[in-house]
Amino acid sequence: MELKVLKATITKEFQVRLRAYPVSFMVGCILTSFYTTFGAWLMYHYFFRGQLSESFGSLTGTRDYMSYAIVGSLMYLFVVRTCLNVSRTLMTELWEGTLESLMLAPFRRVSYFLGNMLLQTITTFGETSIAALIGVLFGLRIHDFNPVGFIIAVLLSLYCFFGVSLILGCVMLYTRNTYITQNTLFTAMFLVCGITFPKEYLPMWLRVLGSIIPVTDCVSLMRASLLGGFPQDQMVKLVIRAFVIGTAYIALGMPLMKKVEIIALEKMEG
């Protein structure tokens, strides 16, 4: 990895955002988190009348549905913001007419993507913190905080989301489309990754789909570190599985990105 490129990309992205930070976009993302939480709150209080099935407790290890749903929606906000921005970096370069000059330079792409990822992480932490404060108003409570588990969950999530971003970025650059691609993926994630309800409630084929997206394990891990109710050995299993799936995404995403870059440059010919 080239640290020079990593640092330069962080600086460049920071300068760009300082001058043109998409405030409305940030508000939009926080609002999405708010609506998700609000929707879950309405469902829980007025549809389920505060009643939870026995299976919910046994599957999730908690009886606090609102905290369960809010942590899920915060993680969803985190994955959407990081994946969206990192996967769109090359598309943005293409739109701004800088893709060719960037590809002309002899640097390693991993440093460039990591630089984008790290800066986005800082921004996303800020946005998620604001969303978390809103969540407190809806009943977010930290029952059993595990600091080591929390740090592992954050680092592992970043690692896995980086992999997801690469794959998503490849699809976007290949199809030259961001909206249909990102919205399809994010809707699928919302449904199958256990954001507001346990994935075990889904039919088997959707559960399988959820299990190959590392976001599912990262969300479970984050919940376990904040809300408790997960035995140690199960947490270790989650960590290993998320790490393996995340690695697979990165291992597939990096070489694929190289190929897609070439296709994108060829497509520029018309």
Binding site: V5, K12, E96, P106, F107, I262, L265
Partner: protein, 338 residues
């Protein structure tokens, strides 16, 4: 030295036939191009739109891989070692692309310098020199989005030189620039080649630019090399016939008819037109002495007698017209045969 032989690039593209129907098609963007660029030489790549110039440049800059052919870069196989090639080349394209509009001029050059791994102390000095060279030293800290078209183009030129490349690819570099800046850029391009010994490949729609700058020219059409050589070689290739303007004092219809007979005695295929009191003659034969002899024989005072030197621009226009005619003939032939 850069040397490419039989370079070819095909694309497999999807063509829509309707809302739900499509078919795949193979497009030959470059069919067969061989060329060479030496250090210290300015080479022109000319061709009408869609001739394959940009695809050729993209292959030479290793942005895209050729489908077949060889590419030698200072003796190294450039197709196998694109990263090594990238360190020693750069590209400057026309328009306002290839720079970040939200960054300042200095920040742009600094970022690209980092991507090329240039040492910070060297980079600082180089940025200052380049900004001075393109006349942007006073605007170094302003965001590029506030720049005029010409200023953006000048910054792009500085960006293209940030890694002190050995070979530079200039794709329509003076588009949108005013005459003064264009003149300065031309001087800079000449200096880069002749003083700093850089090899330069230039594509341009401004034929006067190619005429002025290029030591050697490749003319491409429909992905193939049509002709190569110096400016004179190319104009000779297109204008095989000599063109003359001839007029005398009191030149009227009678004199013109006499001249016509005189010239036709020498070259029966000569084309002679009488316009605004002047005779315009096109012939395969060298006519200067014949025309002078006619004036002496008829006791006429010569007002004008000169052989026209065709410009590269005229050559290009004529060539593209000839090719269009050729293509039309081919279509007609195919429709008749098939």
């Amino acid at each position: 030295m850069i040397e490419v032989k039989n370079l070819k690039k095909t694309y497999d593209v999807k063509r829509r036939d309707g809302l739900f129907k499509s078919h795949r098609e193979t497009i030959e963007a470059v069919k067969d191009i061989s060329m060479r660029i030496d250090a210290g030489q300015i080479v022109g790549l000319l061709g009408i739109n869609g001739a394959g110039k940009t695809t050729t440049i993209k292959m030479l800059t290793t942005l895209i891989e050729p489908t077949s052919g060889t590419y030698s870069f200072d003796g190294m196989d450039a197709i196998v070692h694109p990263a090594e090639v990238k360190k020693q080349i750069n590209m400057i394209a026309g328009g306002e692309r290839m720079i970040y509009w939200r960054l300042s001029a200095y920040e742009n050059l600094w970022y690209y310098g980092q991507l090329y791994g240039i040492d910070n102390s060297v980079l600082k000095q180089r940025i200052e020199n380049l900004l001075k060279m393109v006349g942007l030293q006073d605007k170094a800290n302003l965001p590029v989005e506030t720049f005029s078209k010409g200023m953006k183009q000048r910054l792009q030129i500085a960006r293209g030189l940030i890694n002190d490349p050995k070979y530079i690819f200039l794709d329509e570099p003076t588009i949108g620039l005013d005459a003064v800046v264009t003149r300065e850029l031309h001087d800079e391009i000449k200096s880069l080649a002749k003083v700093k010994e850089k090899g330069i490949l230039l594509t341009s729609h401004y034929l006067s630019e190619v005429e002025e700058l290029c030591d050697y020219i490749y003319l491409v059409n429909n992905g193939e090399l049509i002709v190569e050589g110096t400016k004179k070689d190319l104009t000779d290739f297109v204008f095989l016939r000599n063109q003359y303007v001839f007029s005398t004092k009191g030149m009227d219809k009678n004199v013109y008819n006499g001249l016509k007979r005189h010239v036709r005695n020498v070259d029966n295929d000569a084309e002679i037109l009488f316009e605004n009191g002047k005779a315009m003659i096109t012939s395969n034969v060298e006519l200067s002495t014949i025309l002078a002899g006619f004036a002496i024989q008829e006791s006429l005072t010569i007002v004008e007698l000169h052989k026209m030197e065709p410009s590269l621009e005229q050559a290009m226009i004529k060539l593209s017209k000839d090719m269009k005619k050729e293509a039309e003939r081919e279509i007609l032939y195919k429709s008749l045969v098939g």
